[in-house]
């Protein structure tokens, strides 16, 4: 008998935590898909390490969300028993891995945002969130460096690596606007000093990404049309497939452990 989805009572804080947790879990899961398929042993380890960092961040955020909701759910319920429309991750992180260049460009776009995001969140009025931020910031600082170094080498590498890196930049660009979108859930928490206004991180993100693209001899897309919807549960066609793999075991064998 398959486990049904749970219904989560989302206060603004719970929503805010779930969004960040979903970002980390979905991107971490994407990186885990590289296991056994990475182009070289060294990157096999690096991608798995980064994926595990992200899944660790997701666990802490889900755990805190479960505590804040206080409805008897735990981190596993929140990860495994919410359906696609309940997931509120950024569209960027659910995009398929594609080739190594695409995975690195996706990682750069996310890390260039989330590294300053965590650094700013260390000053949150919410001490639990500030503590999660302090731990996560050190991880995301490395993720950013790792991705940036690779994007520079792929862009400024061979004709083939440059072509692939530029295609990834062009295709993923429309998903970067959502990083800076704040809705009513965010606004209340921002006013209370709990959440960070993502708009305040735009200049840092733009500077980081522009510097890396310039060093990589890649062109920043001129197109400023941005796709959004992830925060409201409106996902691309890719998330449902990802969740079916992520959740299959717990849905089919509820409470399975090993």
């Amino acid at each position: 008998m398959a486990a049904a989805s749970i219904s989560v009572t989302e206060s603004p804080l719970v929503s805010y935590l779930l969004r960040r947790a979903d970002d980390a879990l979905i991107l971490g899961h994407r990186l885990s898909e590289w296991c056994g398929h990475a182009p070289m042993l060294e990157e096999e380890m690096a991608l798995a390490n980064i994926g595990l960092d992200l899944i660790g961040q997701a666990r802490e955020l889900y755990g805190y969300a479960a505590t804040a909701e206080a409805a008897g759910h735990d981190e596993d319920d929140l990860a495994y028993l919410r359906d696609e429309r309940q997931y509120a991750n950024l569209l960027l992180v659910e995009q398929p891995n594609g080739d190594f260049a695409r995975t690195m460009v996706r990682q750069l776009f996310y890390s260039a945002f989330v590294d300053p995001f965590w650094r700013a969140t260390m000053a949150s009025q919410d001490p639990t969130l500030a503590a999660i931020a302090a731990k996560s910031e050190k991880e995301s600082a490395y993720h950013l460096r790792h991705a940036a170094e690779w994007v520079i080498r792929l862009g400024d590498g061979t004709a083939e690596s440059k072509r692939r890196a530029q295609a990834a930049v062009d295709d993923l660009w429309a998903f970067t606007g959502e990083l800076f979108h704040a809705d009513a859930v965010d606004q209340g928490l921002i006013a209370r000093g709990i959440a960070i206004d993502p708009e305040s991180l735009r200049a840092a993100w733009t500077a980081t990404v522009s510097d890396v693209l310039r060093a990589a001899t890649l062109t920043k897309p001129a197109n400023d049309w941005m796709q959004k919807g992830g925060r409201a549960g409106h996902h691309s066609e890719h998330l449902g497939h990802l969740l079916s793999e992520l959740q299959w075991l717990q849905r089919t064998y509820p409470g399975a452990t090993w």
């Binding site: 182009p39 070289m40 042993l41 060294e42 990157e43 380890m45 690096a46 390490n49 170094e149 690779w150």
Partner: protein
């Protein structure tokens, strides 16, 4: 996938302050920056290190195994080079 043109690096890790860097293995990377990153990812996942050195493998000059008799055999019979002939006073304890 084998990429034969990628440079091989030797990795040395210092696990604690005061200890020497110790050879832990090797890896492939296209340049020094990526070699350091890869060393961090491959060899310090369980908190093994405080400091990493990477050295291009071809920068290491090694003794020839064929020379081992000439290189190492003469030292084998010089037991007087070991500091084992001193009486250590009891009060000194374990040295």
């Amino acid at each position: 996938m084998t990429v034969p043109t990628i440079q091989l690096w030797e990795v040395f890790i210092r696990s604690r302050n005061g200890l020497a860097h110790r050879h832990v293995g090797s890896l492939h990377a296209t340049d020094a920056t990526l070699a350091l990153q890869a060393a961090r990812d491959v060899y310090t996942r369980r908190g093994e290190g405080l400091s990493i050195w990477v050295v291009p493998s071809n920068a290491i000059v090694a003794s020839d195994p064929a020379d081992k008799d000439m290189m190492f055999e003469p030292a084998m019979s010089k037991i007087y080079r070991h500091p084992t002939f001193y009486e250590v006073p009891e009060e000194v304890g374990h040295m």
